[in-house]
Amino acid sequence: MKQAYTFVLLLFFGLLALPGHGQQQPPKLVSGAFNHTPFGQFVGQVEAQTGLKFYFDPAAVDSLFVTVQAQSQPVATVLEQALQNTKFHFTTDNEGRVFVYQGKAIEPMVMADFLSPQPVEASDVAARPDNADLPATPTGRSRYVSAAEYKVYEIGSGGTGRATLAGHIRDLKSGEPVIGASIYSESPNVGASTDQFGAYSLTLPVGRYDLKIRGVGIKNTTRKVVLRGNGKLEIETEEDIVTLKEVVIEAEKDKNVSGMQMGLEKIDIKTMKQVPTAFGETDLLRVVLTLPGVKSVGEGSTGLNVRGGATDQNLILFNDATLYNPSHLFGFFSAFNPDILQGVELYKSAIPAKYGGRLSSVLDITTREGNKKKLAGSGGIGPLTSRLTLEGPLVKDKSAFIVSGRASYSDWILKQLNDKNFAKSSAAFYDLTAYVSHEFNDKNSIYATAYMSSDRFRLASDTTYRYLNQTASLKWRHTFNNKLYGVLTGAYSHYDYNVSSDGNKVNAYELKYSIDQPALRADFSFFPNSRHTVDFGVSSQFYRIAPGSFTPLGDKSLVTPNVLPREQGLESAIYASDRFDITTRFSLSLGLRYSLYQALGPRDVYQYAPGESRTENTLLDTLHYASGKTVATYHGPEYRVSARYSLNDRSSVKAGYTRTRQYIHQLTNTASVSPTDIWKLSDGNVRPQIGDQFSVGYYRNFKSNTIEASIETYYKSLRDFVDYKSGATLVLNPHIETDIINAQGKAYGVEVFVKKLTGKVNGWVSYTYSRSLVRANAGTPADMINGGAYYPSNFDKPHDFTMVGNYRFSRRFSSSLNFTYSTGRPITLPLAEYYVGNSLRVYYSDRNAYRVPDYYRVDLALNIEGNHKVKKLAHSSWTVGVYNLTGRRNPYSVYFKATNGQIKGYQLSIFGQPIPTVTYNFKF
């Protein structure tokens, strides 16, 4: 094992050392005498002599005159002299194009070979911005060339100055939109990326362009356009089948450096599929957990702790509908069928103003749109679950559907285990997703999603647990013109759980909790010109929570019903943001979101004696609010500011400040997420949480953007998040405020991330040093924890190292290796026992003063593809893997039991031995 790991590492680093590929061109020479020659005329002569093609804005150079003498001198020298003391610069590429422009020089060093007649080092050339076109990848695959690439598209007419080009990028075969693909012109350096609908909008000076299109899972392509005025260009791209396991993030090639966003992690489904998991099935949340700054308390938990935030501080959106419990079976599985996913975006800092309502992160999960051209399907068979997806057109090229389902057969396995304890047990879950999109015309499209996930289990007892997520969203996208489009979204989220026990007819009960959240939002994107991208919109969501009901089950039950009154609240927000490219090097994104929350009646609000710890005994009065009356109002601005400064085209510095407000709180006094956790709205006694985060990062790409590296550091302060008094009761507590306290937190850390997503060896390595500290020092000493000092939160794991590595032996055979190390989770230990007040007492350490042993795990997976014949019934693949290869017993929980009056400690490890898995996947 160790050898294998070393081998992969060696390969990994060996590749880093490979020299880049390059081309050399002989320098072009120019002769002639120009005296106050108009620039256009000068260009004409140079073009004639050298065959180079010049690009410039004729309007801008009409007052530019050239005075220069040249005798067989290199073009660059001549140009340099010609443009000396003017505000013009020039740049060139290796396809014989020269760009003359105003303002700051784009990248003087790329002219290395152009300026000097001497042969140059290959590595210098490798740094060229258009190097993406070179066969830099060692795969040797040919560039995809189609007729569309040669055709010259004439767009618009009669325009002068600037024009806006808009349209969609779609997959040639399925008609699905390509999300997050870039379309850009290299001179001037203007680009845009497609949104979730595959739409882009690009504003350029009128003229002739070679537009490059790059995207995840699509073949690189170009379009030649002559832009004469505003117009549309629909682009179809071909799927990159061969690179199935290669994962090209070329779309984002230099996004690491040039993109505005910081603290953003994007993973597409192909990357996710490579990461080995315990049950062989691709698991979105597991992959997210390998990213820097994302942690969880234990293996069985999908509760994410992003940059020191609590598990309830993540906004999980599934096609824009909020999801409250994204996991199955206590968190061993993500509640998403991997076959339907397009990808996921995780915002850790610099959260766009569009999003709000949670403090720490936004996890935006999008599904695929479905094949618009023909009926297709895919599926998989794993050790615990199976899944099936069908997709196809409803109206060819106009509308498509995709439906998928996944179900477990753990119930069946339990039945096979010949044990009478297990015979009474059951554990079953399923999830269903349906998505329909329809394009009415160029300007209007609608998208509808319905999602449901259900879990039901009964554990060697007479108690049945059930929980259910249901979401639906309907989106209408309307394009007003090339510069403005809007999306109107209606979404509905529902989550409930239900615990019932019927073993004893007299005590039979049913415990229920539910939350409903309808939401409506309108988002607009406006591209006034190529330097500004303006987003604005409004949103409003209504929460309706049934915080708990305990009712008798059956006629014979003597349980007294206890139904807590409903909670209601309305959260509204308005936002606007502008991304302003001040210069090509410096961009600024300014955003402001203003959110308003109203807790609504009918409701009884308890008043407590001031200055006292809130308990039932300090309850003074009860105020009743009628239906629809506002019980409490909170509002405030949320600032979203970020800036980028490019040091050069390979490195940049970014900084950001984000404020977030959260009005709904998850109550859980267990360290991990459990299905009986409840969500509580802010009200007169529970204040909203407020978070501020400052972050700074340095980004650098190596080896012509094939290796991305970043180092980000952040400091975060959290106010009024929920912590619990010792011995808090959360279930069916009518005065929950007596058991919770408003705590303060701070978190800081450094995240180092190196990612290589092309080539035979790819993957990423991340290291995070981070701390997450909590302080509860408000109120009376009884409410303080650890005497009011800062203490480590439950998920404070300072050191975290992850490596996800893949090695492709051949096109059909690849392997993945996962390595994870992190510091152990903090725990509170009992230290001593003593007798006081006639009973044995235990002396505990300070809260979270000790740690469980460190966590360490290695996983290995092999992917075997079927043959690559294009025409065959079904494409299939096998995934064979071993989870926890070394069999290390990582403690999931540490607990103490008193045996014969003696207290003994035990540690429970869930995956205490290597777990082999086999999964069969197919696609037709």
Binding site: P675, S726, R841, S893, F911
Partner: protein
């Protein structure tokens, strides 16, 4: 009303065991086995009576719960003016004072010098006067016998209350053996087993109330104890002594946290415990911990008796000896059986004897044969 929570936790543990190759290993970091012997002070300064303080030591979590008493310490009560009232060691680790009448308005503390010469002191605390118990009531209810306390303080000075109680009940064994087994032979019994014993238990539960949210300082009908209808303590005669303590706000907070800490041990699924020591500090070494909260107040107490005849007649008679009757009969050669010592002979029957376990015969196994002074 919190059935779901622990169930889920246990459920999860089950699930893990069941679906996954989960492993449970002993977890014994050195930190747990480390010897932690800190002074524990249990008791309060009685402002109107005898002060009794128990001194002991903490012991490691992993060791058996055998309480190490702290003997030969020098203990005295001290006020801010410097007046001292010594406590003398009686039973091992138990120190008592003379009958004291402390001055209200002064503050007092407990000073301890261990035999090893380490000095401890509690914080100075004001003296509180505990108001008398207005009533200790009992009611026979469908759910069983409820014992309720009521108290009030017109001066509104008490506000924080703690109660302790001690139960005493009669035990009547079902058999009074007429024979005994001595020297491998049966003979008529010479010293009869006691026909009656008295069980006694001091409750471990911490009972607290505060009236800070009320306009008057009144505790009314607070449920202190609930006995099931089938409790063997209600077989003949039952008595409960309720002791009431007036606390300061700080002492109340201490007991409240102690109660919560005792409810569970720290697992992943239990509520977070808190660190708690009290108001006793080591003067010789700041880093040395000490446990216990020494308050200063008077004690109010009240005893009530409940006769079986006062309880509803449809409540079952449960003696606690139900498993003993009828006695077993041993025939033939019963000497080897008796020699094992598991059973004692009860009476002679035709061609044999009846036997019962010692627990069924000797009520001293369950209580004391000495009649309490108040009985």
């Amino acid at each position: 009303m919190r059935p779901a929570f622990p169930l889920v936790c246990r459920g999860l543990a089950w699930l893990l065991v069941l679906l996954l190759p989960a492993c449970v290993d002993p977890y014994s970091p050195e930190i747990l086995a480390a010897k932690r012997s800190y002074l524990v002070v249990d008791g309060f300064i009685n402002s109107q009576g005898v002060t009794t303080i128990k001194l002991s030591r903490t012991f490691a979590i992993t060791s058996l719960p055998k309480v190490p008493n702290e003997t030969r310490a020098t203990v005295y009560i001290e006020d801010t003016a410097g007046a001292r009232f010594p406590l003398a060691e009686g039973a091992t680790g138990t120190y008592t004072s003379a009958y004291l009448m402390l001055t209200t308005g002064r503050t007092y503390r407990l000073r301890i010098a261990t035999a090893a010469g380490v000095l401890y002191a509690s914080d100075f605390v004001p003296v509180k006067i505990t108001p008398p118990l207005d009533a200790v009531d009992w009611r026979a209810e469908p759910t069983g016998l409820g014992i309720y306390v009521s108290a009030h303080d017109d001066t509104k000075a008490t506000q924080y209350y703690r109660w302790e109680y001690e139960e005493t009940w009669e035990i009547i064994p079902p058999f009074s053996p007429s024979i005994e087994f001595v020297n491998n032979a049966i003979r008529p019994i010479r010293v009869l087993y006691p026909a009656q014993c008295w069980g006694n238990e001091r409750a471990a539960a911490i009972q607290l109330a505060k009236t800070t949210a009320l306009s008057k300082d009144i505790v009314s009908d607070l449920l202190l104890r609930r006995l099931a209808r089938t409790s063997d303590r209600l077989y003949r005669r039952y008595s409960v002594l309720v002791q009431q303590h007036a606390l300061t706000k700080e002492e109340y907070a201490y007991w409240e946290l102690l109660r919560k800490n005792t409810e569970s041990l720290g697992t992943l699924f239990d509520p977070q415990p808190s660190q708690l020591t009290g108001n006793v500090h080591c003067l010789s070494n700041d880093a040395e911990l000490a446990f216990g909260f020494v308050g200063a107040h008077s004690l109010a107490q009240k005893r009530i008796f409940i006769e079986r005849g006062q309880l509803p007649f449809d409540w079952p008679f449960v003696s606690g000896y139900e498993a003993c009757v009828p006695p077993d009969t041993a025939k033939g050669n019963y000497i080897p059986l008796l020699r094992t010592g598991f059973v004692v002979p009860v009476s002679e029957v035709r061609d044999g004897i009846t036997v019962a376990s010692l627990d069924c015969v000797d009520c001293r196994r369950r209580g004391s044969a000495n009649r309490p002074a108040f009985w």
